[in-house]
Amino acid sequence: MKLQTSMMAFAAIAATAGMAAAQTEIQFWHAFTGANGDRLVGQAEAFNASQSDYKVTPSHKGNYSETLNAGIAAFRAGEQPHMLMVFEVGTATMMAAKGAIEPVHKVMAEAGIDWDPDIYIGSVKGYYTTTNGEMLSMPYNSSTPVLWVNRNKFEEVGLDPDMDLSTWQKVDVALTQLKDAGADCPLVTAWQSWIHLENFSAYHDVPFATKENGFGGTDTELAFNSEAQVAHISKMGEWAKDGKFIYTGRRNEGGANFRAGECALFTESSAGYGGISTEAEFDFDIRPLPYWEGVGNAPQNTIIGGASLWVMAGHDPEEYKGVAEYLKFLSSPEVQAKWHQDSGYLPITAEASELTRSQGFYDSNPGTDVAVIQMTAKEPTANSKGLRLGSFDQIRGIIDEELEGVWAGDKTAQEALDSAVERGNALLRRFEQSAR
């Protein structure tokens, strides 16, 4: 009882304080730290300074998983923020929580804001849009995997650093030459499931899961144990056995090795740019992610990783108006172009990309447009719009476990992927039940 009274008193004080300032406060919970955290706060400050009706207050709530958990716990306690940053694998969880969220298209329409969802890049927007074209959350930070090349390492072993590495067939030859010339670490990767299965499937236009990768309903089943994926993982298993591919861990541990100059090739997010450009004491190149020549419709487009902003239910219309204004502000070409150039994340609108080009950023920072081109070269297909799978963070954990079996030589690629599909499907069925 006492707690309740004191909380009410606190709420009353907060309310009067809000009135005194005559501003509507918008709570924004996010998962960013360091330089990107400062940039995020900078955006909010710029917005607050640009008008006097609303005040956006960003609060850091831990890493992606912790932020999502904080949002969920807050919703259960009736204390949810207006905006919550949720990483892309949490998308299905948020979508299924119909009573907990306000779809972005609805927030924009009700606020009466002139807003065209078609300004967003298709492959970014698609991830957060329903099959009827309704945008549910606002893309915030998006990245896509690319191939990083340590040019010095190539020169050291007498290879031409400008050699063609566009296909895995050509990379295979390079890896053999690197290994034969005594390189310790020819290839290393970050986020193995995201790059070598999820993006691999989209890039080759083969399904990762049935029902348009889960966009068509929660009764989806995993399908990444088909010929194309098995062949790729099997080849990587061979590389691991021959010491051509070095496994360093489930997350982006390999980044330390690459930045230290140990590794020749690194498959990692385009957002690795910030870290690599500041730490690497060698010449590096950004190349498009390789594909297998002749497999599927490669190269299709790659898909995104990163996070989007979800609007939580249970607030006043006036507050949602502020949210809508802020989302519009974030989508403006100037804000987006700056965010893209500073952080290395993709621009979410075509206009921002154009602006960046006209400012000459791509000319003075060669390779920074590789990811943009890779994402936008082709119109996304049912297999390359993105993924919408429940319990997906956990399914990635299962994929990691099974892939480790392949790298260690305990399992064949077929066995491992079959097992990952079977175990993942069990989780999808549970999710289907909980979302019913």
């Binding site: 998983s65 999502l68 958990n69 969920i72 919703f75 259960r76 969880t93 299924a96 929580a97 119909k98 009573g99 907990a100 496994y247 360093t248 861990g249 489930r250 541990e253 330390a256 090795n257 140990e262 319990s391 963070d393 956990q394 954990g397 990691d400 476990e401 099974e402 480790e404 079996g405 790298w407 260690a408 305990d410 175990r423 069990a426 989780l427 549970r430 999710f431 039940q433 909980s434 979302a435 019913r436």
Partner: protein
């Protein structure tokens, strides 16, 4: 011989145990009851709806071969942590007990690691054994041994066992040393006069007289290995490679907080609760009989 204090009425004693009962009820029975209740549902993460599934969560778990395998992993891990941390602690305590000079310094130094939080201990060990930049890994490399706990299951298990036991050695050491010092010197001297050498005295006199301490530590360490090693596993291996270090309590976390699958997570907590209760009962029933107080 035995002293017995008796109360006249029943109100005063009730009043005296009340705070303890209240704390147990609020912080143990209530959450445990919640866990049991939740384990019968599949809730959605936001608490908007709940599907009654009866024992469905338990069926789902027990039919999963990977969950069943994690029982074996937990058993191996707990036994290793208990044996390593108690064995090393006993050895150090016996040595420290024989010291004449400077025993205070030794004791203080040996107790230090206990002040290090498990997650921090995990990070320390991870740095030493990092497959690329670790100091120990580098020295092992010089000796021709290729350390890679990221892919080698045995090495991963070894590393989490050592990291979990390390801080625990201090705690056990304290109790063992106190136990050793409580053994009457006269008994040991008498045995020495009878010609019993150190090992003989340890085996036939010291160890049996130390058994209450050993028993207490056994219970406490098993509970520790079951529940409190989470931080170490999380920072060092996240349960991998494959599922080599996924112990039961780690899976509770992964399913509940990563997977947002609260029903399964609650069911796992209930299973864990049952296992620890059974283990404790077994320990008190069978092992305690062999303890000399």
């Amino acid at each position: 011989m035995e002293k017995r204090v008796t109360f006249k009425g029943m109100w005063l004693p009730l009043l005296l145990v009340l705070p303890q009962m209240l704390i147990t009820a609020v912080f143990f029975f209530y959450p445990a009851g919640q866990a049991v209740w939740q384990s019968l549902f599949i809730p959605d993460p936001f608490g908007l709806s709940m599907q009654w599934v009866g024992l469905g969560n338990f069926e789902f778990l027990l039919s999963d071969p990977y969950y069943r395998a994690s029982f074996a992993t937990t058993a191996v891990f707990s036994i290793l942590v208990t044996v390593v941390s108690m064995g090393v602690a006993l050895y150090l305590a016996v040595l420290a007990d024989r010291l004449i000079k400077g025993s205070g310094t030794y004791r203080t130094l040996l107790i230090w690691p206990y002040a290090v939080a498990p997650a921090v201990a995990g990070v320390l060990w991870l740095f030493m054994f990092n497959t690329r930049v670790g100091v120990v890994t580098w020295y092992l490399g010089q000796l021709g041994y290729d350390w890679n706990h990221v892919l080698n299951e045995g090495e991963a298990m070894g590393l989490v066992v050592v990291a979990s036991s390390w801080g625990r050695v201090s705690y056990n050491f304290l109790f063992f040393l106190a136990g050793l010092q409580a053994i009457p010197k006269s008994v040991i001297e008498a045995a020495a006069i009878d010609g019993a050498r150190f090992w003989m005295r340890f085996r036939t006199i010291v160890f049996p007289l130390l058994s209450p301490t050993t028993f207490f530590l056994l219970v406490v360490n098993i509970v520790y290995a079951f529940f409190e090693t989470f931080g170490v596993i999380h920072t060092i291996t996240s349960g991998g490679p494959q599922q080599a270090t996924t112990i039961l309590v780690y899976k509770v976390y992964a399913d509940g907080f990563v997977g947002q699958d609260l029903g399964s997570s609650a069911a796992q907590s209930v299973i864990l609760l049952l296992i620890v209760s059974v283990l404790t009962v077994i320990q008190f029933k069978f092992i305690e009989r062999r303890v000399h107080y």
